[in-house]
């Protein structure tokens, strides 16, 4: 990686404990930058609120997938046993819906589960191989807040990113170590 072609991605500040991180995060949210994120070794209660995150749309994906699953299961069984190849089983009507219910139930669960996972990956933009691990310690015992340099300014009412100002700001919040992060290629 040649040093003269480095592109700045943002500035990251490292903290030693979750309480300071949480308090700092509240200030970062208040400061109204366009893009920021937190990196912690384990979930911190209250972080969602501190980051000002809205409820995830994931439950709606699950609901839609569940409804699709139950409908598809009924349609498949109805079509095979009533329309395409009706077979008389024990004198029961062709459209014996109680017998369809177990498959309808299972497909509801299957579709909900699969699409919840896929939806989660999509909403979290995973897998993301483009980003290196900023520092191994954030998977172990340190907490990080990163303020990103927006690639494109989407919301002009947000506070503009100014590298030296952001560095100072993170230091003022109690970051023990503040570093610049540069973009890297794959691997």
């Amino acid at each position: 990686m040649s040093s003269n072609a480095q592109i700045l991605e943002g500035v990251v500040g490292f903290f030693d404990d979750p309480e300071t991180t949480l308090e700092a995060m509240k200030k970062v949210t208040e400061a109204n930058y366009e893009s920021y994120d937190s990196y912690t070794p384990y979930p911190i209660h209250g972080m969602d609120d501190a980051m000002g995150l809205k409820r995830s749309p994931l439950p709606w994906i699950t609901l839609a997938a569940g409804i699709a699953g139950v409908s598809l299961a009924f349609a498949l069984q109805y079509w095979t046993s009533v329309v395409d190849w009706p077979v008389n089983v024990g004198g029961k009507p062709f459209n014996s819906w109680p017998a369809f219910v177990p498959v309808m139930f299972e497909l509801t669960i299957l579709f909900s589960g699969i699409f919840t996972l896929l939806g989660l990956l999509g909403l979290c933009r995973l897998p993301n191989t483009g980003r290196k691990v900023i520092d191994p310690s954030i998977t172990r015992d340190r907490f990080a807040i990163m303020i990103d340099l927006p690639k494109k300014v989407r919301n002009s009412s947000c506070k503009p990113f100014e590298e030296s100002e952001v560095t100072q700001f993170l230091q003022s919040l109690g970051a023990k170590d503040v570093r610049k992060v540069y973009e890297e290629g794959w691997f």
Binding site: P18, E19, P43, I44, H45, G46, P98, A99, V101, P102
Partner: protein
């Protein structure tokens, strides 16, 4: 997780709950009205009075016993989340001694309720003669008494430990004692409640059998118990007694439980129905045929939609499980649905022409509800409304934030 950040406050014991004289008066009036309705019913229409009494007897037995079951699984698992609401559940066991009385009344009415008690019916009937070693009056009375007394014993012991802890706050030995008693109780409860439901509900049609019937009855027991626990918790919270202890996260957990057991009931109920429908054996299908003919099909659909579909979609959104008012609507609705379920189990064995819900059934329900309410209020007025001595309480109250 980030537990250190919370400043731990001293919990103030809210003490016992003394209901207003008006509420007690209303409940007392309910009990009187119910007593009058019961007496009136037995004088005018014995044929309807007995099934109605059985429905209401079993309904409130489930509420009282369910309170002990809920508390027992909390002790067994050492649950932290439920510490502030466990005493609410315990308070329902105050009704259990009344359930002994109503069971005795059921014994008196055996000949009107269970036709296998008539020797002339059993004689010559191969199935009933074969079942006679189990289905006979003496054994019926003995085993139903044994189970009820065993539950009362465990209730006395475990609730006793819980109340003793209030006087000796933070003493973990009471949790350990109940953790030993709870699994024994749960085994006794599992067998006892299964046979009680076999005896008092399933044997109304002595030719029919379903090995799933016990778990079906249990699904209803826990369903209604969660609903009433949630309702009383919200009531005490609004009265200010649980305000410092129960926040919306506790309500959310109760709501999730209610939602889960709505699905559980449907799962069990449908599994029982589908296996019998699919196998189509003559000795099994009669039970459901009776409930699916013209006179009863509408009521069966009301049960299915009312007990499963509506609460399912009502409780599905996260916001519904965190809102007091929406949970209250769910709770009241679920309590009605459980009553409809018991009427569905009992009445088709007596009335071929569809459901009978009139002054006899509602009057008796009002009476039982009055007595139930008075026993629970009496418990709450003598004991703390929250298990103030439980070492897990502090953690649950302050750390149950998201």
């Amino acid at each position: 997780m980030s537990a250190h950040s919370h400043v731990e406050k001293e919990l103030v014991n809210p003490g016992s709950f003394h209901a207003s004289g008006r509420l007690k008066g209303v409940l007392f009036l309910c009990a009187l009205v119910g007593l009058a309705a019961t007496a009136g019913a037995f004088f005018t229409d014995t044929l309807r009075a007995w099934p109605s009494f059985l429905i209401n007897h079993f309904y409130f037995l489930c509420l009282g016993l369910g309170g002990l079951f809920f508390a027992a699984i909390q002790w067994l698992t050492g649950a932290m989340w439920s510490a502030p609401v466990r005493r609410v559940s315990e308070s329902f066991t105050a009704y259990l001694p009344v359930a002994v009385l109503t069971t005795v009344v059921i014994f008196i009415g055996m000949h009107d309720l269970f036709h296998w008690t008539h020797p002339e019916v059993v004689k010559g009937d191969i199935v009933l003669e074969g079942k006679a070693p189990y289905l006979n009056e003496a054994f019926f009375i003995v085993r139903n008494c044994v189970f009820l007394l065993a539950w009362l014993f465990f209730s006395h012991k475990m609730i006793g430990n819980s109340l003793a802890q209030d006087q000796d706050p933070g003493n973990y030995r009471f949790n350990l004692k109940n953790r030993v008693l709870a699994p024994i109780f749960l085994v006794v409860f599992g067998f006892g409640f299964t046979f009680t439901s076999f005896d008092q509900l399933m044997s109304l049609d002595p030719h029919w059998f379903s090995t799933m019937f016990g778990v079906y009855a249990f699904a209803g027991l826990f369903y209604s118990n969660l609903a009433i626990t949630c309702l009383l918790t919200i009531y005490l919270r609004r009265k200010g007694h649980l305000k410092e202890f129960v926040n919306e996260n506790h309500l959310h957990d109760l709501g999730k439980f209610m939602f889960a057991f709505t699905v559980f009931w449907a799962y069990i109920g449908f599994s029982q129905f589908m296996l019998i429908w699919y196998a189509n054996l003559p000795e099994e299908t009669g039970y459901f045929l009776r409930r699916m003919d013209d006179a009863w099909m509408g009521f069966s659909l009301v049960l299915f939609f009312g007990k499963f579909i509506l609460p399912f979609f009502w409780l599905l959104p996260r916001a519904a499980k965190r809102s007091e008012s929406r949970l209250m609507i769910a709770g009241i609705f679920m309590l009605i649905a459980q009553w409809v379920d018991l009427a569905w189990l009992v009445q088709p064995e007596f009335f071929k022409d569809g459901p009978h819900i009139g002054w006899i059934e509602i009057g008796m329900f009002v009476g039982f509800a009055g007595v139930f309410g008075l026993t629970v209020l009496r418990f709450l007025s003598k004991n703390n409304v929250v298990a103030i001595g439980d070492p897990r309480l502090q953690e649950s109250v302050f750390h149950h934030h998201q």
